[in-house]
């Protein structure tokens, strides 16, 4: 299924900037970066729990937030992109 992960990490202090880097690094392991703090991840239910757990351990719940949008298996009709930075279809044909 497709899960959209977005985050807001407070970067006012050095610790915040460190958390931001860690969250981004963890997200990129699971999916593609479609915008600066927005990731599209193709994961199954178990993998989704793992990434949630990992991200929860990084953020500071007082200052930052995480959002998960579950778009299911038939997500193709639910996503529309306009403008620059086109993404790839993770379940389509991957030819580089």
């Amino acid at each position: 299924m497709l899960v959209l992960i977005t985050y807001d990490v407070n970067t006012q202090d050095a610790a915040g900037r460190k958390r931001l880097r860690q969250v981004a690094k963890q997200c990129v392991n699971y999916g593609q970066r479609v915008q600066n703090s927005v990731f599209e991840c193709i994961v199954d239910a178990a993998q989704c729990k793992i990434v949630q757990h990992e991200l929860e351990a990084i953020i500071n719940k007082e200052k930052d937030s995480l959002r998960f949008y579950y778009l299911g298996n038939n997500y193709h009709t639910k996503v529309e992109h306009i403008g620059v930075k086109t993404s790839y279809d993770a379940e389509g044909v991957l030819i580089v």
Partner: protein, 343 residues
């Protein structure tokens, strides 16, 4: 049931693959061309010459992603293998059976029955679907002869007779193969099978499809813990993945040949996507390879009902399921190896 994951094809010749976190990164002149999370991939097929980093090979091996290296023409070079998968008892049983000619024949026979049955069905299907456009009488005649061979295969108990019967069936099949091609006849025709090198467009396509199929079959066998080099019908020869070739027999017709034919008949591949070399060899060019690979991926996702398991699954998992059934037979959980009968 296992999930069918995606395959990454790297066709850019001067690209280099590296690992970054959990991602495979495609570098082109030290610039990131693309990155893909490893957990969404089942295999990486690399058609280049620069290679991949050892870290990536390790990561692929430990996560069960098959990383294969091929020349830019699609000839198989090598595969990165990690620790052996599966258990040693199964492999030892495989070696034991393979040493005995009698036991080998029991299994080999089923591969060939599957192959002849499936090829016969391809001919039968053509007479049914395109009765107006093919030479029905000729197809029916050859199909009948293949049916006869099928009945001789069942009691067959030595490998040489088996090979003889297989050759006969293959002759009947390839004799009318040209009939199945319905479009672009002046560019796509089939006289006989030529390989190393393929000498016409259809043979070039067949060879490429067989390479892709071999790659999928080898990966399937290795992932259930069998040794893809120790075969039953194909005897041991250094450097030859005999069991892969054995398993491929039943899929050649239904998987690869039908794939090639539908590519041509649906005009998904065009004469301009081929290149002729000075020595008469015919190869697919970049554009052609891309067309074939995208169609191959699409074919893998199409669902069918597996005749033995009676379960719906994508085509891409069929070699894996057959490998699994083979290992069940070797272990003694099944009385005979059930070949894949296509309808």
């Amino acid at each position: 049931m296992r999930h069918l994951l995606n395959t990454l094809f790297v066709l850019t010749e001067d690209s280099y693959l590296t690992l970054e976190g959990e991602n495979v990164v495609v570098l082109c002149e030290s610039e990131v061309r693309a990155r893909f999370p490893l957990h969404t991939l089942q295999a990486i097929l690399y058609f280049g010459y620069k290679g991949a980093s050892p870290a990536l090979m390790g990561a692929c091996a430990s996560r069960g992603v098959t990383l294969s290296f091929l020349t830019s023409f699609g000839k198989f070079l090598a595969q990165a293998c990690g620790k052996m998968q599966g258990n040693v008892l199964l492999r030892k049983q495989q070696y034991r059976l393979s040493d005995s000619e009698h036991d080998s024949c029991q299994i080999a026979r089923h591969f060939i029955i599957g192959k002849v049955y499936n090829c016969r069905w391809i001919l039968e299907r053509a007479t049914r679907d395109h009765a107006m456009r093919v030479d029905v009488a000729r197809l029916k005649k050859n199909s009948l002869q293949m049916a006869e061979i099928l009945s001789q295969l069942a009691p067959c108990s030595d490998l040489d007779t088996l090979r003889g019967l297989e050759g006969k069936a293959a002759n009947f099949y390839f004799d009318v193969f040209d009939e199945l091609i319905l479009q672009n006849k002046e560019h796509f025709y089939f006289q006989n099978r030529s390989r190393r090198p393929p000498r016409d467009n259809v043979n070039a396509l067949l060879s490429f499809a067989y390479t892709l199929l071999a790659n999928d079959c080898a990966a399937a066998l290795e992932s259930v813990g069998l040794d893809s080099y120790v075969g039953f019908l194909h005897r041991d020869r250094p450097g030859r993945a005999s069991l892969t070739l054995d398993l491929m027999e039943e899929f050649r017709g239904v998987y690869a040949d039908r794939f090639v034919i539908s590519l041509i008949n649906n005009r998904e591949i065009l004469p301009k996507q081929f290149e002729q070399k000075e020595n008469g060899a015919v190869w697919l060019n970049d554009e052609g390879r891309k067309a074939v690979l995208s169609a191959w991926q699409a074919r893998k996702k199409a669902t069918i009902t597996h005749p033995f398991l009676n379960e719906k699954l994508p085509w891409g998992l069929v070699p894996y399921v057959q490998a699994l059934l083979l290992s069940r037979y070797l272990r003694g959980d099944l009385d005979a190896y059930p070949p894949f009968f296509w309808k």
